[in-house]
């Protein structure tokens, strides 16, 4: 009995030493407390996956909701409350076309579902920029910088970005080829969750996960999962997932202005 306990204690001690050694290795790579002097790696250097380049929407489902302006009152699959339904039911395409602001359907809760192309690129070592040709919108993902206080709300809001492990590791750098980009967007000015006047409010937040994978045939895909939370208009978070396919260059890049009556 005593011998068995001794064996167990030895095993636990060995496990602790292994974990400590792993931490020391991670710290040696500049990730943990007590790391050697020097700046932490930039977001660009720490990127476990390369999201940069040109991507094109692949509309494989709900194209009648994405490729066309849905009819008034089509808010199927959206967890709206009564107030939101009332607003959606009062939407009028003719009035929407006449409004000076044509970009209400191009905010973060809806922009990724809008068919078109993306260009993702680094503007500095800690800032990733996402441009869309549909609506000619720009989203800025800031790494390691909290949202500045007192800023006025904007259509694209403020997007705080981080690399996130998909393996639940919790320690050390994220191995190359794994992980995903997480973006949390706040301070948005409100707009349309669906192009036919379904609203989201200025209290909404969007949590997004950008992940990539490559098929055996060489096609590389970007999958964007968006979770919109809106205490004013949604009864529960609304989740959607849209795929993009990587394309070699900017051929076909076709910047268009925002349009209330066109689904791009």
């Amino acid at each position: 009995m005593r011998r068995r306990m001794t064996t167990g204690v030895t095993f636990i001690a060995a496990a602790i030493m292994l974990i400590a050694a792993h931490d020391a290795l991670a710290q040696g790579q500049g990730r943990g407390r007590g790391a050697p002097a020097g700046p932490p790696p930039t977001a660009r250097a720490a990127a476990p996956k390369d999201l940069t380049g040109y991507w094109v929407s692949i509309v494989t489902e709900h194209w009648h909701l994405r490729m066309l302006v849905p009819p008034k009152g089509d808010y199927s699959m959206l967890p709206l409350n009564g107030e939101a339904r009332k607003i959606a039911d009062s939407w009028d395409l003719a009035k929407a076309k006449a409004e000076p602001d044509q970009c209400k359907a191009y905010g973060p809760p809806a922009l990724m579902r809008t068919p078109g192309r993306l260009n993702i690129h680094w503007t500095d070592d800690n800032t990733l920029q996402l441009d869309t040709d549909s609506g000619t919108q720009t989203r800025v993902f800031k790494f390691g910088a909290p949202a500045p206080a007192g800023q006025p709300a904007q259509l694209q809001g403020y997007s705080a970005a981080s690399w996130e492990s998909t393996a639940n590791r919790g320690r050390g750098p994220i191995p190359k080829g794994t992980g995903q980009l997480r973006v949390r967007t706040t301070n948005m000015s409100g707009g349309y969750l669906r192009r036919n006047g379904v609203p989201y409010s200025d209290s909404a937040t969007v949590d997004e996960y950008f992940d990539t994978f490559t098929e055996p045939n060489g096609d590389t895909w970007l999958v964007v999962t968006s979770i919109t939370t809106d205490p004013r208009y949604l009864t529960q978070p609304y989740t959607s997932t849209v795929p993009f396919k990587k394309i070699p260059d900017r051929q076909g890049w076709d910047p268009t202005p925002c349009k209330a009556d066109e689904a791009r």
């Binding site: 094109v56 929407s57 692949i58 509309v59 494989t60 489902e61 709900h62 194209w63 009648h64 490729m67 066309l68 849905p70 009819p71 008034k72 009152g73 089509d74 808010y75 199927s76 699959m77 959206l78 709206l80 339904r85 068919p115 078109g116 192309r117 040709d133 549909s134 036919n196 795929p243 396919k245 394309i247 051929q251 076909g252 890049w253 076709d254 066109e262 689904a263 791009r264």
Partner: protein, 342 residues
């Protein structure tokens, strides 16, 4: 005019990715402008439009119900004939699709609705049945066969509802009746170099037929799918919401998507645009969700007026709902309730 979003399949599916559309249009920007945005309205009243679907199969839109046309070496086959008033327009469109001197051999009726069978009498008379017997043969149970008419094929229940016993007045004239029926799960023949499989998928009635062109990989569903409104449920003719859900599930099993749930098998609905696997699944989901909501309300003891007031269809009304016309949202809820109550 009812807004009907329909898109030529060559556009809708070949360019499922908007970006691929953009990519395709880049070298010829001016040409692309004509392709986008797509046409959103049905043909003007009294006019029809022909859309190629795939392989031997086309569809004529604007004649009431959609009319599917399969043409080939052996002749012409139609699925449904549209309304009586549009018969000549439909026949003119068929002649544009078919090569010269090809003969109309078969008409398949998906149900007995006048929007699908109204043109039977006029259009069947344009064709000829394949003469398998001598012209004066009368010994068989069918007696003399009129070969100077295309054969009209349907489920037996469709004939039963279009006709009447001898001496009684029938809902439709004998010239419009099917002359070739089936009463089992399916009827098949090989025509124009492809298998044509007719399957009894009860839904709107107990006599619905779905037609599968196996080589072209196109399915003509009749009113089992109606992308312009909620599915019509004829309770007196054996239709029910349960049957619609069950048959839509079977239809999904027949559809094979090309990639990521979309494309692949093409589906011609009874009304509305050409669809695919994803579209059928969305329509099935709608019927499922509304069925479950009404069922739940019934189980809670709610009356029909209370169920209507609760608007179980609310989030789909913008796309499928109607307060006017022959098939309103209220009638649909009545039929769903009646289906589930018993």
């Amino acid at each position: 005019m009812r807004l009907l979003i329909w898109i030529p399949v060559a556009f809708a599916l070949a360019v499922i990715a908007a970006g691929e559309r953009a990519q395709a249009q880049a070298p010829q920007a001016s040409a692309s402008k004509a392709a986008w945005p797509p046409k959103l309205e049905e043909p003007a009243p009294g006019e029809v439009e022909i859309l190629p679907v795939r392989g031997n199969v086309h569809v004529i839109i604007g004649a009431g119900g959609n009319v599917t046309v399969q043409v080939g070496e052996q002749g012409i086959l139609l699925v449904d004939t549209g309304t009586a008033a549009m018969s000549e327009k439909v026949w003119a469109a068929v002649q544009k699709i078919a090569p010269p001197r090809k003969v109309l051999r078969y008409i398949i009726n998906t149900d007995e609705d006048p929007e699908h069978t109204g043109g039977n009498a006029v259009i069947a008379a344009k064709g000829q049945t394949v003469p398998l017997r001598e012209a004066n043969y009368t010994a068989g149970p069918q007696g003399t066969i009129n070969y100077n008419r295309a054969s009209v094929v349907s489920h037996q229940n469709v004939l039963n509802r279009m006709s009447a016993p001898t001496g009684e007045k029938s809902p439709t004239p004998p010239a419009a009746w099917p002359d070739n029926t089936y009463a089992i799960d399916q009827k098949r023949f090989y025509f124009n170099d492809e298998p044509v499989v007719m399957m009894n998928f009860p839904g709107n009635t107990d006599g619905n037929t779905v037609v599968f062109f196996r080589k072209s990989d196109v399915i003509s569903t009749g009113d089992l799918i109606d992308l312009t409104r909620y599915p019509v449920i004829d309770r007196k003719a054996g239709g029910s919401i349960q049957a619609i859900v069950a048959s839509l599930n079977k239809l999904i099993d027949l559809c094979v998507p090309e990639s990521h749930g979309a494309g692949g098998t093409l589906v011609i609905p009874g009304h509305g645009r050409i669809a695919d696997h994803a579209e059928v699944a969305y329509y099935r989901d709608m019927t499922y969700i509304i069925r479950d909501r009404v069922q739940d309300m019934i189980e809670k003891g709610m009356t029909l007026p209370q169920i209507k007031a609760a608007r179980p269809t609310r989030d789909y009304d913008g796309r499928y709902g109607s307060t006017t016309g022959q098939w309103t949202t209220e009638k649909f809820v009545d039929a769903v309730y009646d289906s589930l109550r018993k």
